[in-house]
């Protein structure tokens, strides 16, 4: 591909295309723009991204190989933890670094964004004692089902041994009911509180989930034990099942399908997607349009997203969402052209991204409660957060943390090929490359003031643009209010 940045005024996407790309990726870089160019529109690009298995992704595929422990069998992981060869925390940290590296590196951006959405709905924190040996398996399941049907995703998530450990379903038996998973299944994962279930419904929701075992703090082997399954009629909202068989798995699947297809789930999932992709306060018009598509397609996630993008509210929401701290560091890395190439030291780039986002208040899988990070973005607009993101932008623009295992394009390969160029032209060039739009006039004056140079100041070659100048220009672009929004 020809280098976009070679041009004096690099082309930018049309505003509607830029908006789709910005909401459905972790950062619009020149590879992504080139993909959209060959698809001819962002809507067609979205369709190609939906069919992710047909998209070659050598950079994304490489990432898992940097984290060999993530593929350890659960029994091995537990042994490693006990011997302190690789602790639960180390497994958790591997998963976080893996996740951040994937966000930056993968070409399958839409799948990655959706994996993030669903991991935050079916949320399990990093390194947690009862779930960590199964956590990567859970993550891989989410990623593979993230653009399939919600029905399949729900079964995969609720019945997974990692979830069973985290929300105590592994100690939920007919001899002693533990309500934790049964309650969150209703409240967080599907119908939500307004559906009007009562405490008897919660107890029944827990009863039907009995029988799933994990040999906790032992081999962590997962199994189903019919002897522990509660037998007898189950009623939850409008669902009723005789549940007369000792093996309750048929009943559980019927129950999960009922919940996935429930109108209240449709509305709740639609609303959550709208809050992520449209606005913190989506209109009832778009929520009901998206819910309708969800139901009409029998919970198909792609059909649901198409309805969301088609609705006029979507295009009307440009730059209305504040990037979360994680989205912010990943976006900065992508548009600046930084790419992780490994993770074998404490100074490796994926770990630096993790610490940077953590310093701003969001650690990957670091939210302590089962409800996941807030999807609303105003919560991320505290003064302390903004201040720390400004510092991160300079640190990334100049690679001032001196990260290891990061690919850094040479400066001359990110600058225009025609010289001389005035400072003002370089600012415009970088606004286009990093923000996908021309520079507001107060950006020009801000950079001139920071560098103490006139805008007309001429650089005669790429070599004259020092590392310091380059970092100050690019940090200032990312620090614009426009740079904090998606």
């Amino acid at each position: 591909m020809t280098r976009m940045s070679a041009s004096t005024t690099p082309k930018v996407l049309s505003t509607p295309n830029q908006h789709i790309a910005s909401r459905f990726s972790f950062g619009v870089n020149e590879y992504l723009i080139s993909d959209i160019g060959s698809s001819r529109s962002a809507t067609k690009w979205l369709e190609r991204q939906f069919a992710w298995s047909k998209l070659g992704d050598t950079k994304g595929d490489a990432v898992i190989n940097w984290f060999p422990h993530l593929r350890d069998q659960p029994a091995k992981a537990w042994t490693n933890h006990q011997n302190e060869d690789h602790t639960a925390y180390a497994y958790g940290r591997d998963l976080c670094a893996y996740t951040l590296a994937m966000k930056v590196a993968t070409r399958r951006q839409v799948r990655e964004v959706m994996a993030d959405v669903w991991s935050n709905l079916f949320y399990i924190p990093m390194g947690e004692g009862r779930s960590f040996p199964w956590r990567y398996s859970f993550d891989a399941m989410i990623r593979s089902r993230s653009l399939g049907s919600f029905r399949s995703l729900l079964r995969g998530a609720v019945l997974h041994p990692a979830m069973s450990g985290w929300l105590n379903n592994s100690s939920n038996t007919k001899y002693g009911i533990n309500e934790n998973l049964g309650r969150e299944l209703l409240e967080l994962f599907t119908v939500g509180r307004p559906a009007g279930y009562d405490e008897d419904d919660v107890k029944n929701s827990a009863r039907i989930l009995t029988g799933f075992r994990v040999k906790m703090f032992d081999s962590f082997a997962a199994s189903y034990d019919p002897e522990l399954h509660y037998v007898g009629r189950i009623r939850v909202l409008g669902f009723s099942h005789a549940n007369s068989s000792k093996d309750g798995r048929t009943a559980v699947n019927a129950y999960l399908d009922y919940l996935a297809r429930h109108p209240a789930t449709a509305t709740r999932i639609a609303r959550r997607l709208c809050v992520r992709f449209v606005s913190d306060t989506p209109s009832s018009s778009i929520v009901s349009a998206v819910a309708k598509a969800y139901r009409a397609s029998d919970t198909d996630i792609k059909a649901t997203l198409r309805a969301l993008v088609r609705h006029p509210d979507f295009q009307a929401s440009k730059r209305k969402k504040v990037r979360t701290p994680i989205e912010d560091v990943v976006n900065a890395a992508r548009v600046l052209g930084l790419r992780p190439t490994g993770c074998s030291t404490e100074r490796s780039f994926p770990l630096h991204l993790l610490w940077m986002a953590e310093g701003v208040g969001q650690s990957q899988f670091g939210w302590p409660r089962p409800d996941g990070f807030p999807e609303t973005s105003a919560i991320w607009a505290s003064p302390a957060r903004v201040l720390r993101s400004w510092n991160n932008h300079y640190d990334l623009a100049g690679n001032w943390w001196r990260s290891a295992e990061v690919y850094l394009p040479a400066r001359k390969d990110q600058l225009p090929s025609a010289w001389p160029r005035a400072l003002g032209q370089l600012v415009e060039h970088q606004a286009r490359m990093l923000l996908g739009r021309g520079a507001p006039s107060d950006l020009q004056s801000a950079v001139a003031s920071a560098l103490n140079l006139p805008l007309a100041y001429e650089f005669n070659s790429a070599a004259e643009v020092t590392e310091w100048t380059w970092a100050l220009i690019r940090g200032a672009v990312l620090n614009l209010p426009e740079g904090m929004l998606r």
């Binding site: 913190d280 310093g359 208040g361 409660r369 409800d371 105003a378 507001p440």
Partner: protein
């Protein structure tokens, strides 16, 4: 959760006020030091000897029945064969209640009459959902579309022109519901890293922050006012950090590896710094004991007690103006579950410590645990938690109109404040 849209229409007043404030600062930029000093001084005069409310959220739904044990109730021991706290191990037993033995580090405060326990407190209607209950507790104005947090309403009520340092959340950079609203708030982990870009190069720093101030004021909206407040804050954070970093006071030890301890240490430093703080929200997670209640809550209480005991020592001469209240979204089931834990319940215990507290005793309109008085198998609520907070606010912030902080509640004081 709040006005999330970035159009700025919802918070025009805030933006305008912040921008005016910012403009005032910018016009004096030539005398940065004295301007800086001026801002600091005015805050100190305004509120240097003012009272402070510290809200410690015990997130997850703390088990009040293990913390303040109703040892005279046979129903408690019957419902908890493997998890009940033995009566003879309790601290400060009266005819009805006793404290969990892990509160031992707070005995001096209790004996000095500076700590009270209040039982059967909660939301006016049961809500066993963590998330909804927490929103309700923190927002405290159910049914209001404005979703303005009560801490924010308190700050707005106390100050004619609220300052970004008035309401502070320590321990997280997320802005919790209780703090959200029109008064500017700050959420931070610590103060040392609140320096703006290029803190060591004064000339560059002033050029860069000058541009940022103009850009964020120009943009407006949520992100615009956050940016403008960020700059005001960074100018003062450095001075505060000096004071905070002097702590803890000699002889004070917070428990090792405790995030709550870290947060309280920062809070104590901040209060000693006399920068006009009126309310601080501190988050302490880890109270959701669905399994192995007995040893888990023992550790949680022990950490809480050690932290609060250290905090009161660390406040030094400022201790008398600080009142701490612990809140949790709900209590736990009376009946233990199959995993020696307790699921989500209803009525709960609240602790009030420090300035103005008539402590060393229990307060409750105790509903008992008799089967006719339980609500769906749980301890009933006989005191609205907003009534508890109102009682504290009336005592400590007499100029505050509490009816604006908690609109429409029925206030029935228990008499635990002076």
């Amino acid at each position: 959760m709040t006005d999330p849209d970035d159009c700025g229409c919802g918070d025009y007043e805030v933006s305008r006020r912040s921008v005016l404030k910012a403009a005032g600062l910018a016009s004096m930029a030539g005398v940065a030091t004295s301007m800086f000093g001026d801002v600091m001084t005015s805050t100190v005069y305004g509120a240097g000897d003012g009272n402070v409310l510290v809200v410690v959220s015990l997130r997850g739904g703390a088990d009040g029945l293990s913390m303040v044990v109703p040892h005279a109730e046979s129903a408690y021991y019957a419902a908890r064969p493997s998890t009940a706290v033995a009566a003879n191990s309790l601290l400060f037993r009266d005819a009805t209640f006793g404290l969990h033995p892990a509160f031992i580090k707070l005995s001096p405060l209790w004996l000095l009459g500076q700590m009270a326990a209040i039982h059967a407190v909660g939301l006016p209607a049961p809500n066993r959902s963590h998330f909804e209950a927490m929103e309700l507790v923190e927002d405290a104005d159910p049914g209001s579309a404005a979703r303005v947090g009560w801490v924010n309403r308190m700050v707005s009520g106390l100050a004619a022109s609220p300052d970004v340092f008035d309401g502070i959340q320590v321990g997280s950079t997320l802005t919790p519901t209780a703090l959200l609203g029109p008064a500017p708030v700050l959420a931070t982990g610590q103060f040392s890293d609140l320096a703006g870009p290029f803190p060591k190069d004064a000339a560059l720093r002033s050029r860069v922050t000058g541009s940022l101030r103009a850009q964020y004021a120009r943009y407006g909206g949520t992100i615009g006012s956050a940016g403008v407040n960020a700059l005001t804050m960074s100018e003062r954070a450095a001075a505060i950090d000096d004071t905070v970093n002097e702590g803890p006071l000699a002889g004070v030890t917070y428990p090792q590896y405790s995030q709550l301890g870290e947060a309280l240490k920062t809070t104590a430093g901040l209060i000693r710094a006399n920068v006009g703080v009126k309310a601080v929200a501190v988050d302490a997670g880890g109270w959701d004991h669905h399994v192995d209640l007995q040893w888990r809550i023992n550790e949680s209480i022990d950490e809480l007690a050690q932290c609060l005991a250290a905090f009161y020592l660390d406040l030094g001469l400022s201790a008398g103006r600080v009142t701490v209240v612990t809140l949790s979204e709900f209590g736990r089931r009376l009946q233990e579950n199959g995993a020696s834990g307790v699921d989500h319940g209803y009525g709960n215990a609240v602790f009030v410590l420090g300035g103005g507290v008539k402590g060393g005793r229990y307060y409750s309109r105790w509903p008992t645990l008799s089967s006719g008085r339980q609500i769906d198998g749980d301890l009933a609520v006989t005191t609205d938690y907003r009534s508890v907070l109102t009682e504290i606010l009336r005592s400590r912030f007499p100029s505050l109109d509490t009816s604006k902080v908690f609109p429409g509640i029925s206030y029935s004081p228990l008499g635990f404040m002076t």
